[in-house]
């Protein structure tokens, strides 16, 4: 039973952490570019 929990926890936590780190990186980049782009725009061109 603990093996089952270990497997599922591993997968869910890994994917969640990865998603969160992507999200953080994305926010950082958008902030940085927000100024350089002369105003916030959702998408380029």
């Amino acid at each position: 039973m603990s093996y089952v929990l270990a497997a599922y926890t591993l997968v869910l936590v890994t994917l969640a952490l990865y998603a969160l780190s992507l999200e953080q990186r994305r926010r950082q980049l958008r902030e940085r570019l927000g100024g350089a782009r002369h105003g916030p725009r959702e998408f380029r061109g």
Partner: protein, 228 residues
């Protein structure tokens, strides 16, 4: 096309959350405990669904590389890189959940199952690809060489599969029961898991792609207006 993929993340995020919840619910309540292995068998519903995303990631890497070599448009390379990064995560999960399942069932951490072993070699190809990108000097050469490696790696896959089968196929290890026709509730749970992780995969690729795109933009701005 890149825009559409990036935009789809907004839809994919809630969709994947729902799909994951449904899948987990089915694992707990719908999937029956198996006769021989007991509750441990339920690892199947998290181990096998990782496979499609892992291989899809590699396909994206290969196709993205091919697209880049043919068109020289960096969109394709960004797709390849995103596919590789997300793919290697899922590939690693297969290699970790496999042993977690194998140990209680068969007593060994590692089993020389054809699929698991081929996945291990695939993992090394992913890692090689990512190291190549990291160590080649200059971003254009890095993209080109990575694209080439993606293509050559893909060509090697059928040979690797054959070789692993040849080398390890004869050992009397119990084969993964995943392919031997599951009864209804098991199949449904397995499909739910595959669907859920595919959606998560798509979401992660979309986000990673956006990051790659933003990084490229940031580089452009730095070049045009140094100091900002």
């Amino acid at each position: 096309m890149e825009e559409r993929i990036i935009r789809s993340a907004r839809v994919l995020a809630p969709l994947s959350v729902v799909a994951v919840l449904v899948w987990l619910g089915m694992v707990v309540f719908v999937a029956p405990p198996e006769r021989v292995q007991g509750v441990v068998q339920k690892i199947l519903y998290v181990h096998v669904p990782c496979v499609l995303p892992a291989y899809l990631g590699f396909i994206l890497t290969a196709l993205g590389g091919l697209g880049f070599l043919l068109t020289r448009r960096e969109q394709w390379d960004r797709l390849a890189h995103s596919g590789a990064e997300v793919g290697v995560v899922f590939c690693s999960l297969i290699l970790l959940t496999g042993p977690i399942w194998a140990k209680p069932v068969w007593g060994h951490w590692w089993v020389w199952d054809l699929r698991l072993t081929s996945t291990l070699v695939l993992w090394f190809m992913y890692v090689a690809y990512l190291f190549l990108r990291a160590f080649v000097i200059g971003s254009d050469p890095a993209r080109t060489l990575a694209s080439v490696y993606g293509i050559v790696g893909t060509a090697a896959i059928p040979f690797v599969y054959y070789a692993v089968d040849l080398a390890r196929g004869s050992t009397l290890h119990p084969s993964n029961p995943a392919r031997e026709g599951l009864p209804g509730s098991m199949a449904a749970t397995w499909i739910a898991g595959t669907l859920a992780l595919l959606l998560v995969f798509a979401y992660l690729v979309a986000r990673r792609l956006e990051i790659a795109r933003l990084e490229a933009e940031a580089l452009e701005h730095a070049v045009r207006e140094p100091g900002i």
